[in-house]
Symmetry: C2
Subunit: 385 residues, 2 copies
């Protein structure tokens, strides 16, 4: 195995999905830590919090009340990062006008949603059974399907899905009038990841523009496909299954690996094993398999340091409004970026060198995967009771 | 002014230095914050801490003792992120070998230094007079000069500088045998930025590779130069001086602005007004002007929320080992990335959407610059006594 040496030398690894490099320092794990400690999450939350704006029946910032929802509930973010209607802005870029070259801006419109995972204030995905995560995935699938462009190559598939998965009886959101380009589903979990409310929820930001990260990935996947005739994540998934050392877990539909190019200490990626372009391509069985993968990742995370493990996660898939080629080159996957490094209170800071020069990690992705493979079994909290 | 509308609409701005976009949501500052609060920095540090491994006379992790240094002191990091000597690794990349395409790695060698700013444990750059910051800049200049490649277009200039700026009487580091490619000088200040020791210091990581960020910037500056015949930061500096609204402060040699493309709430950049390729190009007078700029930035930061303002900062300049063209296209500047958003305890989290999709900011760079322009004058702490 030619890569054995990488356990011992400082090196950089290439991320083919974004086209960028990161620095790996496997020998640096012995460094003592005297810096900031994370506050361990308070575990004593009530199942219902009358002051929580996400709990069923409660009133939100702008006056609306949540229904007594059973599984999930989606509403427009009261403090959306993008506006739906606004003034036009369309400045001309001219080579002889330096300001137009160096002070470039584009308008962005869109809509941001908040989507709760459960009516219970005091649980997380890790506490939920696969059958309880399934409604979350169904909600993600329906919101994606309902926002899809009428001209999207995935439209027929979306219509089929909307007829198959029952609508949420507690209400659903209608897409805005103007067709949007991309839908980013993401979760910030834990105070360390800027989450301001422990009630289990994620956000869905839809914009008129294709954001940087999915844009970079789509460009890289397109390039790889045209150069090699195969999908990047198809090749990568097969390779990792064969190599084994970075695999955390898998089922028939999905592979969970600490990617070769992981930046965050225990970063993982859930990748569809077959060519799934977006949520709407998943079969009934695959949605259940995906729910199982999400369950495995979040439970293993909590088991790792016996704590409510913070992370940011996000789904990358085909844009809402896309060409035939963009749809074909999209490959459904979900990233998890968790900050903890050595314990429930010691995190990795991606700061000075990482921001100014290049991301840097200490333990290798292979070491992280081995740790996470060993964290299966019942959720540690359930064993404590 | 065509940009007035940008105070009101959600939009993206383009960063010409890195070639990437960020989302700006000027209307979103009204959002209430219920999440994590930063612990305010404890202000009661001793001038000398017998347990600090950076204080004069103290022993460090690997047994060495610090001298009774007067201004600055530089030593090799006891837990360097890169090794100096290690096994070779040079795998072949072959189109028919998927593993070689998707599991790519490069060896990185180098050396990391720690560089203290002052023997006093309880001060920061903001507390130091320009005349006290000058020795820090002289030390940065000498370490850069002494590590420069013999074939660098800046070598003659470096030799002149080494003969002009007196050597540190408390000792200096010798460059390693193997020529390195890049030197990243950076500071992590404050627990919120992963700093584990409040003793004023920065780090200097030198590597055999050109890291991602300076690499991207050099490529973008090279492209701009070849397309427009002028330097990107030359055009940008002139433009900002004319526009005024993002200027925080300036003197004859340096401009301090909240850049058009700032990601962090109060991000600033110090840019040389004339074509300075690296530290060694600065005249005696310019080093003093640069010290003044660093003083102005750090003092204004502390004054803004009357706190010990956390940030990561870093210098970008010509690589240690570079071609004539790379030297010519380099333009000396220093970035400051501070996380605080609304007060000494409420920070901006660059998390879910930012990591998965695109960086997002709330207040505009113009608003940030106006705030920082108003924060001049004596350091707030000195007025309290
Ligand atoms: O070397 P330090 O100060 O202990 O460590 C700090 O800065 C490094 C360089 O930005 C980071 O890699 C670490 O995560 C951070 O804690
Ligand atoms: O919308 P929230 O959860 O209040 O805010 C959190 O997530 C957003 C999206 O990643 C970030 O922009 C905010 O900085 C963070 O605090």
């Amino acid at each position: 195995m030619p890569e054995q040496v990488l356990d011992d030398i400082s090196h950089r690894r290439y991320n083919p999905l974004t086209g960028s490099w990161l620095l790996v320092s496997p020998h640096r794990t012995k460094r003592p830590w005297q810096g900031q400690q994370e506050a361990p999450a308070k575990n004593v939350l009530p199942e219902y919090d009358p002051k929580c704006y996400l709990c069923p029946g409660n009133q939100r910032a702008q006056g609306d009340s949540n229904p007594q929802y059973k599984n999930t509930f989606t509403f427009v973010n009261d403090y959306s990062a993008v506006k739906e209607q606004q003034q036009e802005y369309n400045p001309e870029i001219r080579k002889d006008d330096v300001a137009s070259l160096l002070l470039r801006a584009q308008p962005v419109t869109g809509r941001c949603y908040v989507l709760t995972f459960s009516p219970k204030h005091d649980i997380t995905l890790a506490d939920m059974a696969t059958s309880e995560i399934l409604p979350v995935i169904q909600t993600w699938t329906r919101i994606y399907a309902s926002h899809l462009s009428a001209t999207s190559p995935l439209k027929a598939q979306a219509d089929k899905i909307l007829a198959t998965i029952p609508a949420n009886p507690d209400g659903e959101v209608e897409p805005p009038q103007n067709q949007l380009r991309y839908m980013q589903i993401f979760e910030n979990k834990g105070a360390a990841m800027g989450c301001s409310n422990p009630h289990p929820h994620c956000q869905v930001w839809t914009t008129s523009t294709l954001p940087e990260e999915p844009g970079k990935e789509l460009a890289q996947m397109t390039k790889y496909k045209s150069e090699n005739g195969r999908h990047l994540l198809e090749d990568y998934t097969k390779l990792e299954i064969e190599k084994e050392e970075r695999v955390v877990w898998q089922n028939a539909g999905f592979l969970v690996v600490c990617p070769w190019w992981a930046v965050w200490p225990f970063e993982v990626i859930i990748i569809a094993k077959r060519h799934v372009r977006a949520l709407v391509d998943l079969s009934d069985e695959e949605r259940l398999q995906f729910a199982e993968a999400v369950q495995e990742v979040t439970r293993r995370y909590d088991n790792l340091f016996e704590t409510n493990f913070p992370y940011s996660s996000g789904i990358h898939q085909a844009p809402l409004d896309c060409t035939e080629e963009e749809a074909e080159n999209s490959w459904f996957h979900m990233h998890f970026y968790p900050p903890l490094l050595r314990s429930a209170t010691v995190r990795k800071f991606l700061v000075g060198y990482e921001l100014m020069a290049e991301p840097q990690r200490d333990i290798t992705p292979e070491q992280a995967a081995a740790r996470l493979r060993g964290c299966g079994g019942e959720l540690y909290r359930k064993l404590l009771n």
